[in-house]
């Protein structure tokens, strides 16, 4: 199976090409230059491996949560590429990709993945053995669930509120992963079983998962 994966939900930008278990990766700190970088990165990966778009079995994109604009760049580019290639697409959660990286690094079975959501909030989700046990949600840092025994915590959301959280969680038995950002490598890897299970779908159904959904007040709510 050959999968192209794109991840632009944070200030990092990455593209990965999964070829039957072998993974090729490009990643860079992008600031807000994702639109200038993501397609050339994908094209270079394909060219280097001599893979054409029409040979892809699917395109996976980091669906979020994360920077709203970043999510739409990966999603929009994926829609366009997949329409042209005639292949299915699949969205993979940024918190699940972050958790997979943390689990690989620390060997922890349970991961509390936390990404900075700005405006004094974080996105967090909990995974056990790669299975989502607490779906991605928005929290005030002080309202985050505390880590379970043996769990590891990971992500920019932890480091943004490190002092507050370590105080609140004093005495708990948890470890801290060095992983801060989700990346395309784990987006690709997590896509494989889902695609094998037939979860790929058409480009028109590709949509970011924002989690933060209240973005404006209606006239009658003011």
């Amino acid at each position: 199976m050959q999968i192209l994966a794109l991840e632009t939900s944070t200030e990092w930008c990455s593209a990965a090409l999964w070829m039957d278990g072998k993974l090729h990766l490009r990643e860079t700190h992008a600031g807000n230059r994702h639109s200038e970088l993501i397609l050339p990165m994908a094209q270079q990966l394909l060219a280097e491996q001599g893979v054409s778009l029409s040979q892809l079995d699917a395109i996976a994109y980091g669906e979020g949560p994360g920077s709203f604009t970043g999510l739409r760049i990966a999603c929009g580019v994926t829609q366009g590429l997949a329409l042209a290639a005639g292949c299915p697409v699949i969205g993979i959660g940024s918190l699940s990709a972050l958790a997979a990286a943390a689990s690989l690094e620390t060997g922890a079975v349970g991961v509390l993945a936390i990404l900075d959501a700005r405006m004094g909030e974080v996105y967090a989700a909990r995974y056990r053995d790669g299975v989502e046990v607490l779906p991605p949600a928005l929290f005030k840092p002080e309202a985050l669930p505390s880590p379970e025994p043996g769990e590891c915590v990971a992500g920019t959301g932890f480091f943004a509120y490190e002092a507050l959280l370590t105080t609140a969680w004093a005495g708990q038995n948890y470890s801290v992963s060095a992983q801060r950002y989700p990346g395309a490598a784990h987006i690709a890897q997590l896509a494989v079983p889902k695609l094998l299970a037939g979860e790929g779908h058409s480009a028109e159904r590709a949509e970011p998962v924002y989690v933060r959904n209240k973005v404006a007040l209606k006239k009658r709510e003011r």
């Binding site: 760049i73 929009g76 829609q79 329409l83 042209a84 590709a206 970011p208």
Partner: protein, 336 residues
């Protein structure tokens, strides 16, 4: 050359297929007006969220309507700016992804160049050179157009855009958003001469506009006359705005010595503006051109058309590198 055009700069997702030989093949539009109405104006984040849901189905719809396959497309044009950054990025990302996927060039188009050239999609179409009056929700400009990419700004609004003035006045009168079409509907049953409103800068001697004073005058009028019929206020406002627009457009014709006036942008749908411009232009032997009515507001066809004109002159690199330009002055454009 078959060009796919994609517009997503504000609250309309537009997609179209334009053929440089056969003309406009198909176009499709989704307006978010109803969604934003509940919020009293365009919410940028919600606009972006809607664009990304609509863009693929609209593309499939125009292909189907034209009986064309993706492989038949030679290039893709998308609105690169000006507009809402997040909304622009949706169209740009999709367009660039599709272009890279198909191995064809993608070109970023200036939104106002799209509006400016949209009357060229009508029959009969104007020859160059002409004077263009651009009147939309975000812009009010008079431009001298000598060719594709050869634009000289003659004058513009110093504050509110004309469409914005219609919308704010509509809001003041408690009309649903956007106020422009509502005002023109109400005004039909009103007496424009019941109240007299100022014609800001009509005799300023230059080609600039100002609409914020007119809006304030309406506010004062409504406060002083709480019993005023909304129909009459709408009619008085409309005639004042139209007289200023028409007066300045005619002055621009005189100043340039041109005999062709092109009117584009959402407010060009206004029937009073059209009849006034037609009458006054006829008096000086000039002809007024409008885009087809369906292409007055934002749409993909004008982007496909403007993109095609530029692509005929020069094909951009198909490298997948892109940025958007939320603020982008038309005068920075180069000739094609």
């Amino acid at each position: 050359m078959l060009v796919l055009g994609i517009e997503s700069s504000c609250d309309e997702t537009g997609v179209a297929l334009y053929d440089t030989v056969a003309g406009l093949r198909s176009h499709a539009l989704h307006s978010q007006v109803e969604m934003h109405a509940e919020y009293g104006g365009v919410v940028p984040e919600l606009a972006s969220r809607d664009h990304i849901r609509r863009i693929v189905p609209l593309t499939q719809r125009v292909l189907e309507a034209a009986g064309a396959s993706l492989d038949a497309i030679d290039a893709i044009a998308y609105t690169q700016g000006p507009g809402l950054a997040g909304a622009l990025l949706v169209g740009a990302s999709f367009a660039q992804g599709l272009a890279v996927g198909l191995g064809i060039p993608a070109i970023g188009v200036h939104h106002l160049e799209g509006h400016l050239l949209s009357p060229l999609l009508a029959d009969p179409r104007p020859e160059f050179p002409f004077v263009a009056l651009l009147v939309s929700g975000g812009h009010t400009q008079l431009m001298q157009v000598d060719g594709v990419g050869r634009y000289t700004l003659l004058g513009e609004t110093l504050d509110d855009a004309a469409g914005e003035a219609f919308d704010k006045t509509g809001q003041l009168l408690g009309l649903p958003y956007p106020g422009g079409p509502e005002i023109s509907r109400l005004a039909q049953q009103g007496d424009a001469f019941c109240y007299s409103l100022p014609r800001p800068m009509l005799n300023s001697g230059d080609l600039d506009f100002s609409f914020s004073g007119l809006k304030t005058a309406v506010l004062n009028l409504v406060h002083k006359n709480p019993e005023a019929r909304r129909e009459d206020v709408a009619a008085a406002f409309q005639v004042a705005a139209v007289e200023v627009l028409a007066g300045k457009a005619l002055r621009a014709l005189k100043q340039t010595g041109f005999h062709r006036l092109v009117v584009a942008g959402g407010v060009s749908a206004n029937t009073l503006l059209r009849s006034r411009l037609n009458a006054e232009a006829a008096r000086v032997g000039a002809t007024v051109y409008y885009p087809p009515l369906a292409l007055c507001t934002d749409n993909g066809a004008m982007i496909a058309y403007a993109g095609a004109q530029r692509l005929l002159a020069d094909a951009p690199a198909a490298d997948g590198v892109f940025t958007v330009r939320p603020r982008w002055d038309l005068s920075q454009l180069q000739a094609a």
